[in-house]
């Protein structure tokens, strides 16, 4: 059975509940490091028809597909979702907008062109919005789509975020099942660049089958390779989402989310090597059994330090972290590499 077939099989067992088409999946506000400053951000996730790749199988760790709508929302529906989301930013004078779907914002099948141009225009019109970040798979990042976006979004900055996950084609293909290559990413990034659009890259720490050490080193290598094309790198820590292959494995004792010590190590090493690169990580679900974690004692504190660094980009925020479990993690780095197909669960 191929990876894609297996992922699809798991997907098909999940039930998606009917939801209103004019409500976004999620909206929240927060703070982000943006070009040297800490800024307010409004994050919105649109409910769309869903990621085309996810519908034919998709990534082994991705549970966002279940945020998609059971029927395709119309352009009006999407714009309506946008308007509702913007309501949450009423208290801000200045903020950045981050737009996600469970797939690609630039995929016309998810976000009809009418909706896209309307939303970008509305953003352009809103003076408080100084920057817009949209996420997309690289195949939708074309000269045409860039020009189209920039046509609506004139003075407001645009950044496109691409979920590359890793620079290793082997891992991206045989562990993550992402469906594109590093070369695809490079092409997309260059298109953006040549259009003056900034590129943000998502990496993914510890996809399935990969040992803690391999995962850690893979991210370090990935940062190195991606830094050529992208000024902002955000490292996602794999967590166990419902309806994913990762969950299927995790329930059987065959997957353990990454250690927080690993991301601390990654942040320290990469930031030292690339001081001007913005490198962030949001430890979602840290300390939970489905989330990235150290021991019960220190997970909270370490996750806070990671968040602080992500905002400040100041390595001092990662100093002084200590816990008895750190020596266990060091052993796990060695042994998880030599366990031949089973994670060291603790």
């Amino acid at each position: 059975m191929s990876l894609n077939t297996k992922v699809l099989e798991i997907r098909q067992r999940q039930r998606i509940k009917p939801t209103p088409l004019d409500m976004p999946s999620a909206v929240w506000t927060g703070k982000d490091h943006v070009d040297g400053n800490v800024e307010n951000t409004l994050t919105m996730i649109f409910r769309t028809s869903g990621c085309w790749w996810g519908k034919v199988g998709g990534c082994t760790m991705c549970g966002y597909v279940y945020d998609s709508a059971h029927t395709s929302p119309s352009a009006e529906d999407i714009v309506s979702q946008f308007r509702k989301a913007m309501g949450k930013a009423s208290k801000f004078d200045r903020f950045m907008v981050k737009i996600f779907t469970s797939g690609s914002f630039l995929d016309e099948k998810e976000v009809p062109v009418d909706a896209l141009s309307k939303i970008l225009s509305l953003l352009e019109e809103d003076d408080r919005v100084f920057k817009v970040v949209v996420e997309s798979r690289p195949e939708f990042l074309t000269e045409e789509s860039m020009e189209f976006c920039l046509a609506s979004l004139k003075s407001t900055l645009l950044e496109v975020a691409i979920g590359l996950e890793t620079s290793s084609d082997l891992i991206r293909k045989r562990s993550i099942n992402k469906g594109f290559t590093f070369r695809d990413f490079v092409r997309a990034a260059e298109v953006a660049k040549s259009n003056g659009v900034a590129v943000k890259t998502y990496l993914m720490l510890k996809p399935p089958f990969i040992s803690e050490k391999q995962a850690l080193e893979d991210i370090i290598a990935s940062v190195r390779e991606v830094s050529v094309y992208s000024g902002v790198i955000s490292i996602n820590l794999c967590n166990v989402q419902k309806g994913t292959l990762i969950e299927y494995l995790w329930e059987r004792g065959e997957y353990r989310p990454p250690w927080l010590w690993s991301i601390v190590d990654i942040l320290k090493r990469t930031k030292q090597e690339f001081p001007h690169l913005i490198i962030t990580s949001d430890p979602v679900g840290a300390g939970a059994k489905r989330g990235p974690r150290n021991c019960k004692e220190c997970s909270g504190e370490v996750a806070d330090a990671i968040r602080a660094f992500s905002l400040s980009q100041d390595l001092h925020d990662l100093e002084g972290l200590e816990c008895d479990c750190r020596s266990l993690w060091e052993k796990v780095l060695v042994l998880d590499d030599l366990s031949f197909g089973s994670p060291i669960l603790e």
Partner: protein, 610 residues
């Protein structure tokens, strides 16, 4: 298949062997996991494709590594491990990787065709801790697909508490991963399970590490030093257990040890029970005889392969002598039964009627033992816990054995001189089969009254066929021959009119002045002379065909062309080659003889040039 691994002792699925590398590694072996990455050890991991990136690079790394470390170290070929429940997404080309020289190890994944190697690693073994059924399935599948003379490595699963069982199901190589991880989690491991260090008021061990420190001192050390101490202890505990298990294999009573050791965890007990149900798998490696006592010391002894094999061979191979009266007797603590006080009294009570009577002994866990087979392993070699109470499962098993026997073999009269549970069993079976059984016991089976009853009963019944002393001896040798070689072998190797010499139990059979067999009392088996072998060879069982050479002393596996797969270690085998025939004792089973490229296969006793 291999020049680098050799098995030299077996017990069930467990075995002792040697990895012949830069230094000889005795197996079962516990690998210090971290040394796999240290290119100075005898076993070296070439690494993971996940990290290397692609097959070409892996190939390159492998070549370079082999050049660097030489041929006499084992390289675990570049691998790309998934987890057991993952869909297969490994590039086909990865399997093509070979090291043209030197010893190699490969990760084994179910369903993938296996290339040659000296060592196979079960992918994701650690996932099956606590899952007896899945682990056993995986190991059986692996054993079915790898040659017997390659080593089996179960990575990341070993603890002192499960080591004996892992070896018992067939592991040759284990590692220290869990011992180290436990140490860094403040877990203190013993053969009897693990303890949280914090819960210990003293250190329940006298290893060199624990002897140097108290529990309180250890608890108060800083984390790193504490973990290092714990790791040393944990590995000591594992190595002590390993050495013990190796000695238990040598002494032929690993089963007895495992029978106790598996009570540490329910999944280990389940593993023992499930393994016993895989009779083919475990029987294949079980020697036909041993020179140590077999302890039937728990309910699970009823299903151990020696017991099941004995019962099956009685059912399939045994033919009773031609007598009309059956006497059922209870077993005795002393073995063989006939030298016990009680059986001597039975014999005296039978007196002149003994020649009319066929005697069959009822016993747990063996079921039934015809008198002729009382010397045969394990009938003369077992000991049980005696409390006077039989549990329902024992009753059921023994009844089934008796029922099978009585439904196959008919007598004019059946007498049972038994009491207690033995009597209940006889009654249950008589009832079920609609047979009449005469009971002669009143009170104790050795009381004067009971014995007088027995005599009187026999006086009334014994009018039919009889068997004289010579015939009785011959029938014993025939029964043993049938037991050993299969039905009909007895008639060949102990023909009618054989002369039987020697005092009990050292019988020898002669035919027309030529000796054909000797009974070896220690094992209760027949040793066959070269003349006996010549008569047996046409039967075409227990035959080992060898190449065109003159064998002497012992025969090594590579010299064997083909061997009867029914041959078991300890069996008497007949060697047939172009230059000679011979007879000897098997040191491995027939399949191993046929397939192995290393190891002693046969201890030859007699050879005759053709």
């Amino acid at each position: 298949m291999t020049r680098y691994f050799e098995v030299y002792q077996r017990d069930g699925a467990a075995r002792k062997g040697r990895l012949l590398l830069s230094r000889t590694i005795e197996t079962p072996y516990v690998l210090k996991t971290e040394t796999l990455k240290d290119n100075t050890g005898p076993i070296v991991d070439a690494g993971s494709l996940w990290e290397i990136g692609n097959v070409e690079k892996a190939e390159h790394r492998l070549e370079q590594l082999r050049r660097e470390i030489g041929d006499n170290r084992l390289i675990i070929l570049p691998h790309m491990c998934l987890v057991p429940d993952a869909p297969d997404c490994i590039p086909e080309s990865l399997e093509m990787l070979v090291s043209n020289t030197g010893a190699t190890g490969r990760v084994y994944r179910e369903g993938r065709a296996q290339k040659a190697a000296d060592l196979y690693i079960l992918e994701g073994a650690a996932v099956f801790e606590n899952n007896a059924r899945a682990l056993l399935e995986k190991v059986l599948d692996m054993k079915d697909n790898m040659p017997d003379d390659t080593a089996l490595y179960l990575p990341g699963i070993c603890l002192p508490e499960n080591l004996a069982m892992l070896v018992y199901i067939g592991a040759d190589v284990l590692d220290t991963t869990k011992a180290t991880v436990a140490a860094y989690k403040d877990m203190y491991l013993t053969h009897a399970g693990s303890f949280r260090l914090a819960s210990l008021s003293e250190l329940p061990c006298r290893c060199s590490t624990c002897a140097s420190i108290t529990a309180d001192e250890l608890k108060n050390m800083d984390k790193t030093s504490r973990s290092q101490m714990l790791e040393k202890h944990n590995i000591n505990a594992m190595e002590a257990e390993l050495a013990l298990v190796r000695e238990k294999i040598s002494s032929g009573n690993l089963r007895e040890y495992v029978d106790g050791q598996c009570r540490t965890r329910p999944w280990l007990t389940a593993l023992l029970r499930l393994l016993d149900r895989e009779y083919q798998h475990i029987e294949r490696g079980t020697p036909i005889t041993r020179n140590v006592e077999m302890l039937a010391n728990s309910g699970d002894s009823l299903t151990r392969p020696e017991v099941v094999r004995f019962a099956r061979r009685i059912q399939e191979r045994y033919t009773p002598p031609e007598l009309d009266v059956l006497l059922l007797l209870p077993c005795s603590a002393k073995k063989p039964y006939s030298i016990s006080q009680s059986h001597q009294k039975f014999g005296l009570a039978l007196g002149k009627y003994r020649k009319f009577v066929h005697e069959v002994i009822i016993t747990s866990p063996l079921g039934i033992v015809p008198r002729e087979l009382e010397l045969t392993y394990p009938a003369a070699h077992y000991d049980v816990a005696v409390t006077g109470h039989w549990d329902a499962e024992e009753m059921k098993w023994v009844s089934e054995c008796l029922e099978d026997y009585l439904s196959k073999h008919r007598y004019a009269a059946i007498v049972a001189h038994v009491d207690g549970a033995y009597k209940q069993i006889c009654e249950m079976v008589a009832d079920k089969l609609g047979l009449e059984i005469h009971f002669t016991n009143t009170g104790s089976v050795t009381s004067h009254e009971s014995l007088r009853n027995l005599s009187k009963m026999m006086e009334g019944l014994c009018t039919g066929r009889t068997m004289n002393e010579t015939k009785r001896k011959a029938s014993m040798l025939r029964a043993i021959a049938d037991y050993q070689f299969g039905k009909g072998a007895g008639e060949i190797v102990v023909p009618d009119n054989s002369e039987i010499k020697g005092p009990f139990p050292r019988y020898q059979s002669f035919y027309e002045k030529t000796q054909l067999t000797t009974l070896i009392p220690q094992y209760g088996t027949l040793a066959v002379t070269i003349e006996g072998a010549e008569m047996m060879i046409p039967r075409n069982s227990c035959i080992v065909r060898i190449d065109d050479f003159m064998p002497r002393g012992s025969i090594l596996a590579p010299g064997i062309l083909e061997a009867d797969h029914a041959i078991r270690e300890g069996d008497e085998v007949f060697v047939v080659g172009e230059k000679a025939i011979g007879v000897g004792r098997a040191r491995m089973n027939g399949k191993e003889m046929s397939m192995s490229t290393r190891g002693q296969a046969i201890d030859l006793r007699h050879v005759k040039p053709k």
